[in-house]
């Protein structure tokens, strides 16, 4: 048994080390000087001398600071909007029996799995004609709309688990439909809302394709687009690019570490549990 345990530990450790190697490589790279990078090529070794100045270059000269802020401006209203609207549709689909209920649910679920390419051209085209192309609002509205599929499905699953007797009792007490939604159901699904919010936050933060389609001006670009820009301008400064990549990754990473439980709950709910 002891030998097995040792074998297990060694195996597990090797896998984990392999897994985080790409992280370590970029972390070390972001603190190295270009001379050290090119001369030693020991990517996996910590820097001989630490250069935090790469981050300042990325933040200021490469504009990552502005992209960083832009991403917040896009992500926060998108998440809030998606959560609010999907809580309405999820409520309707979880609690009421009506003819189109199943069809509407299927439309939401089907839509969340559609290839994005199927939407690119029309969404781009009418964003231009509506005058919301190359503006924050255009991307935000798209994110809200597109995320409704997953959010509705997710929240509906949770609302289904609330016993119907609560609903009946409230009805008898004379509570209106909106009161039941806002005063009874919403407080009960708060944990689910938190899980969903965290998941959505990282997804929208990490979006690239839709910003590429809907945004043109440098001054409103989110961080993913900014990072790809960096690739063009700073192509030979791998240390600056690594610093940029870390700046782009740090918020979702931090959110994940803080709210790990919710994050994973969100990913597995509606699939494994559902």
């Amino acid at each position: 048994m002891r030998a097995k345990k040792i074998v297990f530990y060694i195996l597990a450790t090797i896998i984990v080390l392999l897994w985080i190697a790409p992280f370590m490589i970029s972390f070390f790279t972001s603190f190295k000087s270009m001379d050290e990078l090119m001369l030693t090529r020991k990517w996996w070794a910590p820097p001989k001398k630490w250069f935090p100045s790469n981050f300042i270059t990325a933040w200021k000269d490469a504009n990552m600071g502005r992209y960083f802020l832009n991403t917040f401006i896009i992500t926060i209203p998108s998440v809030l909007g998606a959560l609010f609207l999907s809580s309405l549709s999820a409520y309707a689909l979880a609690w009421y029996k009506f003819r189109l209920s199943k069809l509407i649910l299927m439309i939401f679920v089907g839509g969340m799995l559609i290839p994005f390419q199927m939407l690119l051209i029309p969404v781009y085209r009418f964003s231009v004609s509506l005058g919301i192309y190359d503006r924050f609002i255009g991307v935000i509205l798209f994110h809200i709309a597109f995320q409704l599929g997953f959010c509705t499905f997710f929240l509906r699953n949770f609302m289904k688990t609330i016993p119907a007797s609560i609903f009946d009792a409230a009805m008898i007490d004379g509570a209106g439909h909106f009161t039941i939604y806002s005063k009874i159901v919403m407080p009960l699904v708060l944990p689910a809302l938190a899980a969903l919010g965290i998941l959505e936050f990282t997804w929208i933060w990490n979006d690239y394709l839709w910003s590429l389609i809907l945004i043109q001006s440098d001054k409103i670009k989110p961080i993913t687009l900014g990072l790809v820009n960096l690739q063009g301008q700073w192509i030979t400064s791998w240390n600056t690019m690594a610093a940029g990549a870390i700046i782009a990754a740090v918020v979702p990473l931090f959110v994940f570490l803080l709210f790990q439980r919710y994050f994973i709950e969100g990913l597995t709910v509606g699939s494994v549990k559902g």
Partner: protein, 289 residues
């Protein structure tokens, strides 16, 4: 629930309206555009029937892209899911530090494919990259991970799978929570007997996790875009192109919106089968609740 008929519709009105504008209606519009020769700029265009589709299947670059998507399907879904299961089986035990180990394994899941692409760009770089530098210690000659047309797609799949394996592992770890511990431990430690128990006892219990992991991976492998765009833009010479990238190039760089729509439509039709599969499995289980 008894109520006036309009009540659920009142709650659904705004969400459904937005969803229709940005998701449902565009699907039909793309279907329509796939039968036109629209260039994306001129106000006028004509309906050309199946011409775009006929052209597509003679287009060598589309064929490469389609073939690469099949490679993605096998590599990204077919390899990541079992590997995720394997690692989940290994880590699903109580041991000191198990929480830290798991957290570290989850990390790639939080990254965007843009960041993943960036990170892997200096791992896969042919002259100075980390992987080749590492291999040179063992006397292995440099490999053109991103420059050799025969290898490049596999390199991209490897980079993308880094995240996908983590995702499959999360799903399986959640699934394994519902399987009695002794079964799992027995299954991975004691040989043939354990293997039988694994196949006949544990695997069937993990069916829901498997269905989700496979469907999501298949669908993501068919719409793969970001990482290809960031690392190679489909190059060299279209060798790593996938349908999503080819569609983007055709529609937004070459102004062939009709042709691009036809590519998207093919992608959509292939995905549709899996969407139906997913809905049947997941929604049916829903009904049972």
């Amino acid at each position: 629930m008894k109520s006036k008929k309009w009540v659920p519709y009142a709650f659904l009105a705004l969400p459904l309206l937005m969803y229709s504008i940005w998701v449902i209606f565009p699907i039909f519009q793309t279907l329509y555009l796939s039968f036109t020769d629209w260039d994306g700029v001129s106000p006028e265009f004509s309906i050309i029937g199946w011409d775009n589709f006929k052209l597509l299947f003679q287009d060598p670059y589309f064929r490469i892209s389609l073939w690469n998507n099949i490679k993605w399907l096998i590599g990204f879904a077919g390899v990541s899911v079992p590997l995720g299961l394997l690692i989940a089986m290994l880590l699903d035990q109580k041991f000191r530090g198990s929480k830290v180990y798991k957290t570290l394994m989850y990390l790639p899941m939080t990254l965007s494919f843009v960041v993943i692409g960036q990170i892997w760009s200096w791992i896969l770089e042919p002259r100075y990259g980390a992987l080749n530098s590492f291999l040179s210690i063992f006397g292995i000659k440099s490999v053109g991970w991103l420059s050799d047309p025969n290898i490049v797609t596999y390199s991209l799949i490897m980079a993308a799978s880094w995240r996908q394996i983590s995702y499959a592992m999360v799903l399986y770890l959640a699934g394994l929570k519902q399987v009695p511990k002794e079964l799992v431990e027995a299954a991975w430690v004691d040989g043939a007997n354990g293997w039988k128990r694994f196949v006949h006892v544990i695997l069937p219990m993990l069916r829901p996790a498997t269905i989700v992991a496979i469907t999501v991976s298949v669908i993501d492998s068919l719409r793969a875009f970001d990482i290809v765009y960031v690392l190679t833009r489909g190059g060299p010479f279209y060798s790593s192109s996938v349908m999503a990238n080819y569609m983007y190039i055709m529609a937004f760089n070459n102004y062939r919106m009709g042709y691009g729509s036809a590519i998207a439509t093919i992608q959509f039709l292939i995905t549709l089968g899996f969407i139906v599969f997913y809905m049947r499995n997941v929604l049916k289980k829903e009904e049972a609740l």
